[in-house]
Symmetry: C2
Subunit: 441 residues, 2 copies
């Protein structure tokens, strides 16, 4: 990705120029710091490196000729609308279509409660903007999506992690966390959760726990922000029922076409209780006036004229094959002491290193061996996570995934030998929250 | 516009539903209130009403067949890039092209200092995000762009207006305002200015004053944010030299393709001193990850393959003709006591009503007579401006503009008779800052 090269450059500049504005930034800007691992990712984007780092969907699988025709027809038939400003809330017809998509997850919603956003990342930004005063608490799974943590940091939220296991968020731990925060007089504004095929952990909240999580949050009057970009990308069976399906008043649901169609249009959405929806539209308008009419109408036309359910099915098959390639080669090649999650959908495997190993310290060595991953520390707000790494199987071909895992296993083995000889692996070096690049999405 | 209908609905809903989250919003959200005039604008969008309210460019003038071919070719030739995530800073080639566009205004810039944004509205949002703590002062012309005032309010900035005359911002008043704020211990973070064909006033800062404004701000260490969406849309002669051209370290320049090409792609940009650019990229990523690759590459392809300078020339001619239609009919039809600005480019005329008349109170009557405008109060942060209105000539055909001015003149005359009979016109009703809809851009 070109962005990675730019980030490399950024780092070089930062060292060599003085910032004349350093005493004039807002307090929130001090939390905006470029990650040190970015420079490494600029190396990792070279073709000889197998990147298990990025979360980029495999858009090459789309029928490009069809998409080309579709956007040309759009301009021919609705050019003056597609090229003009649109409403802050988003195209009304697209909002109807979004309700149809959400129906697959058991959600019954009115198009009037949907706001179209610049990817679901913007929905997250706007929700944070309207709810968070500096110091307010956001609950999030530990680990959680790096882009969400970056947004929470930008609004000076205090993120408190709630532990997960292979069945997702642990309800008892959630209840306990809320209670102890409440005893300490802290204000919990919302729970941010990715219940299905979680990023980065690859685990899914089971049905029993879904009910419990909703009950706990309802009782404590904690809003639930359900982020669900991967919900339709399960490998088997029917889509899971969304949290929002069972609690229209207590849940803000975030969705996206980035994984079911393509991220290049940047079309996501929020479905929110009506009063919150009103605020979201006002926040949207002050942030960007309105999203691109062209991008919205292109997505709408795709949904209207193409067999989108079939396309999602073929994406599911593609990612299932890649996930199997990763899991089977991990099984075959990883040294003892490594463990990992077994996703039933989505893009990611979460790997736990043997004791004494540090994933961030290990990254430069891995890149030298032509394989990249994302160190676990990026997925926590509090510098924990050094024993984990996120491995993505969404983008590389299956044979490249196997080769990447082989290289990574070699690096981990060497590191274990170092540890056994010297008592520790490479020296760790942890910063705080890294504001993510789009390459880490 | 569909958005206007939605806003109408919003107002209805707000009255009838209880907001269960009312005690949980952030402090900044309390400033986000929908404008009362929105409901009126939903009526104003009916075809029988001549709208002199909106700032929508006349995109129908674009060669739609060419644009259709261009986006189809884009998908065929660069589909996997156009449909994928891009870098947070924006497409590198587009950033080079943006530098070429800015060269027309005397700006010499490096593509590495450009950040592509979701319209220049987002650039404004991000600049405010990185500089403004609650209570910090932003200086702005009085009147100023309604969308900027909405953004400043969303970050709890304190806006202080600096007066203008027909030659733009008054330098002596600027110096005095900065000095008195400094004596009061207030922190001025930046001056927000639209020096060329200002929105809403239609006036342009003269050359002598450009130098003075830069000097004053430099001396006081006040950053200048130069918003320049209309700079290339002057009716005669060469484009004016941008403020940024003479002060690369003290000015953040905001640009947009919304008026020179089309707003439907939502492609704008910021050109910033390097340290600020670094922060802008991080803020961009936490806000939306990245802008639409598709939209960026479409604009890039347009600039590469089409005679864009010629297209701008034909836009200039079109808007000049409409401006002349408006100015000549104002001259012919407006009752004595009304005065207005004479723009040399851009989209807007700023009209001053005779004493005792109130533009917001006058709007419902005008809409009943099938003509709409934007009341002056929306362009001030402090509820002044009742004696002004903004009239746009960018969208309606010349004969519709003449008809609209005729209707408006009739309404003003009636209102003057009311005033002369009862001592006042319709009863005024002023709120605070209205968060603008895209229709007011």
């Amino acid at each position: 990705m070109t962005g990675e090269t730019d980030h490399g450059r950024t780092t070089a500049h930062q060292g060599s120029r003085i910032d004349a504005y350093v005493d004039r930034y807002a307090a929130r800007a001090t939390g905006m710091v470029a990650s040190e691992v970015r420079a490494l990712f600029s190396v990792a984007s070279r073709p000889e490196v197998v990147s298990l780092a990025g979360g980029m969907p495999y858009v090459t699988a789309l029928p490009l000729d069809v998409v080309g025709e579709l956007v040309a027809d759009l301009v021919a038939q609705r050019g003056p609308v597609a090229l003009q400003y649109g409403s802050g809330q988003g195209d009304p017809h697209l909002r109807e279509q979004i309700c149809e998509v959400m129906r697959l997850e058991g959600i019954e919603a009115n198009a009037d409660d949907v706001v179209v956003t610049v990817g679901s990342q913007q929905a997250l930004d706007l929700i944070t903007r309207i709810f968070i005063d500096p110091g307010d608490v956001v609950l999030a799974e530990g680990p959680s999506y790096v882009g969400a943590l970056g947004t929470f940091a930008a609004y000076q939220a205090s993120v408190v992690h709630v532990p997960m296991d292979d069945e997702g968020l642990i309800p008892a731990a959630l209840a306990e966390t809320i209670e102890s925060l409440s005893r300490a007089g802290r204000r919990v504004k919302f729970l941010y959760t990715i219940p299905t095929f979680q990023n980065p952990a690859g685990v899914t909240l089971n049905e029993q726990r879904r009910r419990e999580v909703l009950e706990i949050c309802n009782r404590a009057r904690v809003l639930v922000v359900e982020d669900n970009p991967y919900g339709l990308l399960g490998f088997d069976g029917e889509p899971l029922r969304a949290l929002r399906a069972d609690d229209p008043d207590g849940v803000v649901y975030l969705g996206s076409f980035s994984k079911t169609l393509a991220p290049g249009f940047r079309v996501g959405w929020a479905l929110a209780p009506h009063a919150i929806r009103d605020k979201l539209v006002l926040a949207m308008e002050s942030a960007v006036l309105s999203h691109s009419s062209f991008a919205q109408l292109a997505v709408g036309r795709y949904l209207e004229t193409q067999p989108w359910r079939e396309q999602i099915k073929s994406f599911r098959e593609l990612y299932r094959e890649r996930c199997e390639a990763m899991l089977s080669s991990l099984e075959m090649l990883m040294p003892p002491g490594c463990t990992w999650t077994k996703p039933a959908g989505g893009f990611f495997v979460w790997l736990t290193l043997p004791p004494g190993l540090d994933s961030k310290a290990l990254l430069p060595r891995a890149v030298a061996e032509r394989v990249a991953f994302v160190p676990g520390t990026g997925f926590y707000a509090d510098a924990q996570g050094a024993q984990y790494m996120r491995l993505s199987y969404c983008y590389p071909q299956p044979d490249r995934i196997r080769e990447g895992v082989r290289r990574l296993a070699g690096v981990i083995e060497q590191e274990m030998q170092l540890r056994d000889t010297f008592g520790t692996g490479s020296v760790p070096d942890h910063g705080g929250v890294d504001t993510p690049g789009p390459d880490l999405a």
